[in-house]
Amino acid sequence: MHQPNVIEASNLHLSFETNDGPVNALSDVNLSIKKGDFVSFIGPSGCGKTTLLRVLADLDEPTSGAVTVNGVSPRDARLARAYGYVFQAAGLYPWRNISSNIKLPLEIMGYSKSEQKSRVSKVLELVELLGFEKKFPWQLSGGMQQRASIARALAFDADILLMDEPFGALDEIVRDHLNEQLLKLWKSTNKTICFVTHSIPEAVYLSTKIVVMSPRPGRIIDVIESDLPIDRPLEIRDTKKFIELSQRVREGLRSGHSDE
């Protein structure tokens, strides 16, 4: 039952130097994430969710504190291609069709042509986009584009998936559907997922662990271990347990606000 921590952060601080002086984006962040966890980060705008994810991905460097990903530094984890990162915008290249967009990281990582092909069809099946290989991004809806971008992050064998509000720009119905698919995908691949969101129901529905954050300075104010069952139909959102969890998240968010 004892599983190693995939992500470990202790006493993490990060301040950005700006023209109006330093901005404390992260302050005293301590966090450990186990293999196979689905972790949501929730909090008001500016509380450092993106920054924390970017630190884990070695896109930003902490001012002080220690982080390890898979037991090594974020940089080494990045070079070992330990994670896939899904940005808020799908970021597909308009001049490449869906299949060759998904191949892009595989080409960069030097996979063989035949390997690329088999992986593309595998991940397209996972995100239910089979048959759209030859379509170009502009021919797809926003939700489909975002699924393609998730497929791209899944195509190489990263066992960590970092997702920064991947469904933020989508309407609620599409979002529900993608949430269901994401859960299914998480269960079938046993990846560790870090997921940033603004939505309480989304966080509670998806997560095994919910990290509630608060701004100025960006910090963690509550970490909630969810005891919802692994199998989660959408209707689970009407259960008592779900509502209790949501209330706890909401209280955390509110207490963060009253500090100001």
């Binding site: 896109l59 291609r81 940005f87 001049w95």
Partner: protein, 290 residues
């Protein structure tokens, strides 16, 4: 603006220009016509004056139809290998332009790549690139011709170098902008895949710079043509539209000047239209139209 709504403004401006042109032909060519009449002791009515000023063999200002028929005659009724053929001269200028354009575009792209990838290059080279364009090319061209001539190069190459000198600049400027056009998200994405510099260049920066590339090509092509024509002036003897205009000016043959000028304009229009078509087709295919 749509093609249709552009049509009428363009046509009306063109009409005004042509009318003014004919008017000026009468004014500028009339002294000679009056002179002739005086010598033959006849007086000219206004219609006679007009018809005489519009049909002189060596007018100060030839009329549009004279220029057109000069161009027609020197294009169709001359062997294209003859020095009297406009095709011959246009071909020479065209090859110099293309040569200079290819050199200039390659140099421009290479410089832009170096500038985008290396801060030191950007800081050390950029001021020189800008300075290079502040030196009047007319002063520089004879020096380049002489210097290369004494090194044993003559003919096409020195002129192509001058043409390159003008054409690389818009390409550098445009391509630096184009290669820097990927957004932070796109660059971060590449970083998460641990892509190398050359991979980012080939898979992201170059494709993303295509709209800038074609705009640069158009400017570079126009500059290359100007460079080729300017380069022909001090070279002497080699032929080309610049040479023809210069000799026309030396011998007071205005028809040569004007027909050379129009050929150059037509050549420029043709080359730039060609790039424009490429631009449309390729950017459309890449879904990069702005």
């Amino acid at each position: 603006m749509s093609e249709k709504s552009k049509f009428f403004p363009v046509i009306s401006v063109l009409t005004v220009i042509v009318i003014l042109w004919y008017g000026f032909s009468v004014v500028l060519n009339s002294p000679w016509a009056f002179d002739q009449a005086k010598r033959n002791t006849i007086s000219l009515s206004f219609p006679e004056l007009v018809s005489k000023t519009w049909s002189q063999k060596r007018p100060k200002l030839p009329t549009p139809h004279q220029v057109a028929s000069e161009m027609w005659n020197t294009t169709v009724h001359q062997k294209i290998t003859s020095k009297r053929s406009l095709v011959y001269h246009t071909w020479i200028t065209f090859s110099e332009t293309m040569f200079g354009f290819l050199l200039g575009t390659s140099l421009g792209i290479l410089l832009a790549i170096a500038i985008v990838h290396n801060r030191a290059t950007a800081i050390s080279v950029m001021p020189w690139i800008i300075t290079s364009q502040t030196i009047p090319i007319l002063a520089l061209a004879p020096m380049i011709i002489v210097a290369l001539g004494s090194a044993g190069f003559s003919g096409l190459l020195p002129i192509a170098i001058i043409s390159m000198y003008l054409s690389f600049f818009p390409v550098v400027v445009g391509m630096v902008k184009g290669l820097r056009s990927p957004e932070r998200l796109e660059l971060d994405q590449m970083k998460t895949w641990s892509a190398s510099g050359p991979q980012v260049l080939i898979k992201l920066r170059l494709p993303k710079s295509m709209p800038f590339f074609f705009t640069s090509l158009k400017l570079g092509m126009a500059a290359a043509l100007v460079g080729a024509i300017v380069g022909e002036l001090p070279s002497g003897g080699g032929g080309g539209l610049g040479f023809r205009m210069l000799s026309g000016s030396t011998f007071g043959n205005t028809l040569h000047i004007w027909s050379g000028l129009f050929s150059a304009a037509l050549l420029a229009a043709a080359l730039i239209t060609f790039i424009g078509i490429l631009q449309k087709v390729i950017l459309k295919k890449m879904a990069l139209e702005l």
